[in-house]
Symmetry: C2
Subunit: 201 residues, 2 copies
DNA sequence: TGTTTTTTAATGCGACTGCATCGTAACGGT
DNA sequence: ACCGTTACGATGCAGTCGCATTAAAAAACA
């Protein structure tokens, strides 16, 4: 009965257009027309896949969470690549670097996320989705620290349940300053490494 | 030359109206008309004091920086109150608590700041102002840590130049999660205290 | 009191917004 | 080959936006 297009793939294409608009011209520039132009389709197409603008943005937010997680998994998988077993410290450092806006995609993701954070202060739906996404990463971070503690990679007296959130929120706190040019990515990574030196043997 | 009203005071009144609009209905709701209604004046008045919307927002951003600094100074001055000399740890902890959205004013300030952060990703003027404001607080934080080190309040082996930015950015990283309800203010303060226990004797 | 200048208010305008309403093209099932 | 459903594009509409224009009100100085 349907035609031949992949519905979900079309929605993802439009979500990517939303990201491009936010990343280049900001959250305020996200109009149905501009998203359509960015995606190379007509406005009717956008309306066809998203009955309302907020639904488009909610889908885009979920898509962004998946995108970050995918980039995270890919980075961690690359460390496991050529037959070598990475240490927990290497994994945690790589995951931290992924969340910092150091390269092009990372910066776009950070811009989109901070825009949704701002919108979430007055739109509970965004806040709920952000909570889900960030709490998951936080949980994984804590689990990774506990594993490091179990493997004896942490220094004596380091509490993984206390230091894992601290490192995670420190990373989050570095995103904004990097975005506005207050802190350079190299300095941020140096700060992270200093903390890792303190936590790991 | 007749003049009856205090120009600067009027502009501050309008800036407060901007904060109220952002805090209650979000950055997108900041229109000249809504700001005028919030301030209890007409739209022509807003236009008279700010020839363009962006100038109003730039002034509001500078005003917000002053407001945070004022609240910070007031909090620190209160610690110096009844003839007692507060420790550097007490001062740093108080300053940290001021920057977290724990009470009403703190939450409004955090909402406004995150909104400007988002806007700063595409508007360099905002980015520059934010850099100035945050770098100043960062400088003060580092100076306070150095003073703590000079007074011997820090534990052995603690580098103030490395740990001061870490604590500062950790605090910044806690703001967003508290705003969206991912983290409770009490938990955030507990996390800060755990770090302070590590840094101070 | 009359004049000048600032302050405040009211209104209009072009542009843009999200959304609804069409019309049409294209494929799948029968 | 026909028809129904889906995909998609074009256009209209009520509302809002920032900003310009205009005028009235009010206070300081002549």
């Amino acid at each position: 009965m349907p035609k031949q297009v992949d519905h979900e793939q079309r929605r993802q294409l439009l979500a990517e257009a939303v990201f491009a608009v936010i990343g280049t011209r900001g959250w305020e520039a996200v109009s149905l027309r501009d998203v359509a132009v960015q995606a190379g389709v007509s406005m009717g197409t956008v309306q066809h896949y998203f009955p309302a603008k907020q639904q488009m943005l909610l889908f885009a937010l979920a898509q962004m969470r998946d995108r970050v997680n995918a980039r995270l998994q890919a980075t961690l998988a690359a460390l496991h690549g050529p037959g070598n077993q990475p240490s927990r410290r290497e994994l945690i450092r790589a995951a931290t670097a992924v969340m910092l806006p150091v390269d092009g995609p990372g910066r776009e993701e950070a811009c989109v996320n901070i825009a949704f954070f701002s919108a979430a202060t007055v739109t509970p739906e965004y806040a709920r989705q952000l909570r889900d996404g960030y709490s998951r990463i936080l949980t994984v971070t804590v689990a990774s620290f506990r594993e490091a503690a179990r493997l004896g990679e942490l220094r004596d007296g380091i509490d993984p349940d206390a230091e894992a959130p601290a490192l995670y929120f420190l990373t989050q706190g570095l995103v904004g300053p990097i975005l506005i040019g207050l802190y350079q990515p190299d300095d941020a990574l140096a700060l992270i490494d200093a903390q890792l030196n303190r936590l790991f043997r």
